[in-house]
Amino acid sequence: MVTLALILSTTVAGILFWAGLEKIRDLTPLASTMHALGVPLRIVRPVAGLLALAEISVAAGLVFRPDSVFSQVGIIALASTFAWAGIVAWWRGEQIHCNCIGGMNRTLGLTQVVAFIPWLGTAAFVHLVIRDPLAFSAVAIQFCALGLVIAGVRSITILRARFEARGDRVCAMEMFLWRR
C-alpha cells in the first residue's frame, strides 16, 4: 500500500514538475489563459508565475515530504484551481486554451472538473497511507529518478524534432541548391 501511495505521489509530482517548469519557461500562454478567465491584466503575469511556483513547490513537497499535510492540501488546492477554471470556461461557453501542461492545444471545460476526483483521491490515499517521513536517501533516489525520467521523455520529443529539422534542411539544400 505504501509502495502504491509512493508511486501515486511520485507520478503526481512528475506531472506537476512538468507543468510548473513548462509554465516557468514561458508564462505568456498561461497568462493569456488567466486573462481569458477574468484575471485583471495588470496582475496576470505575477499570478501566473505564482501558480507555476505553486505547482513546483507542491511537486517538491510530494517528493521530499509526501507525509506532510501541506503537500496533500497543495494537491487539493491546485486541483480546485483547475476545476474552477474548467467551470468558468464551461459556464461561459468559451474556447479557452488550457495550457495546463505547457503548450497543449486542449481547451478548459468539464475535463478539469472530472479530473478533480482523482486528484482528491490521490491526496486522500497518500494522507491515509504515508504517515511518516521517508528516509532522506530514499527521497534522493526518488527525486533523481523522477528528474531523469522527465528529462528522458522530453529528449524523445527533441530527437524527433531534430530528425525532422535535419530532413527539412537537407531537402532545402538539395532541392533549392542552397549552400552552407
Binding site: R25, C144, G147, R154, A161, E164, D168, C171
Partner: protein, 207 residues
Amino acid sequence: MATLALIAVGLLSLLTFLLFGALLEMYRDIRQLRDAAGILDRPLVVDITSIEGKSPSEYGLPGTLDSAPSAILLFLSERCLTCRVIAASLGEPLPSTLWVVAEARDSQLADNFVKVTNLISHERVLLDIGGQIANRMGLNTSPVGFRIQNGRFASATTVPSTRYLHSILPAPLSLKVRAHPSKPLELSGSRSSYSRQSSVAHPGEAP
C-alpha cells in the same frame, strides 16, 4: 555525499528538461520560418508526359501495380541525402498504398544504402540496381513520388520530406458490407427520418 549527488543529478535533470523545452521552441521557430519562406514541403511537379497513362509493368515494375486502384510509387536514390532521410523513416508496417524503388548504381552501393538507412525489407520495397527501371522511365530526379490511379501513371511530384510523403499517401477506401440486412426505413413526417435519409448530398445539391 551520495545523497547530495543524487539530489544534484535530479536538479540538473530538471534544468536539462527546461533547456530541452527551449530547444524544442527553437526547432518550431525554424520550421515556422521555413514555412513562411515557402521552402517547407514545397513539391515540384515532375513532367511525366512520356509515361502518363501507361502501366507500371511496361517499365519493369511489378504487375501488381497494374491493378492498384490508387498508390504512390516512391523513387529513392542512394546519391540523394533527402532520399536517405526518407528511407530511414520508413518502418513497419509500410503503408499499404506505398511502393518504394531504391535506385543504386551497383549492388554494393545498394547494400550500403540499405545498411545506412536501415531500409526495411518488404515485398513493396524494390532495389533497382543500375537504375534500369529509372532509365526506362527517363527518371533522373529523386526523390520522386508517382501517383498511380487504376493501374496507370497519373502524375508525379518531388517528395521533399517524410511529412509530405505521408500527406499524399492515398487512404484505402472500401465498401463496408453489413452482416445483417437492415430494416427498411419507414417514411414518416418526423424530422429525424428525413434528416437520416437526406444525410448524403447529391452533387449540386445543398446537404
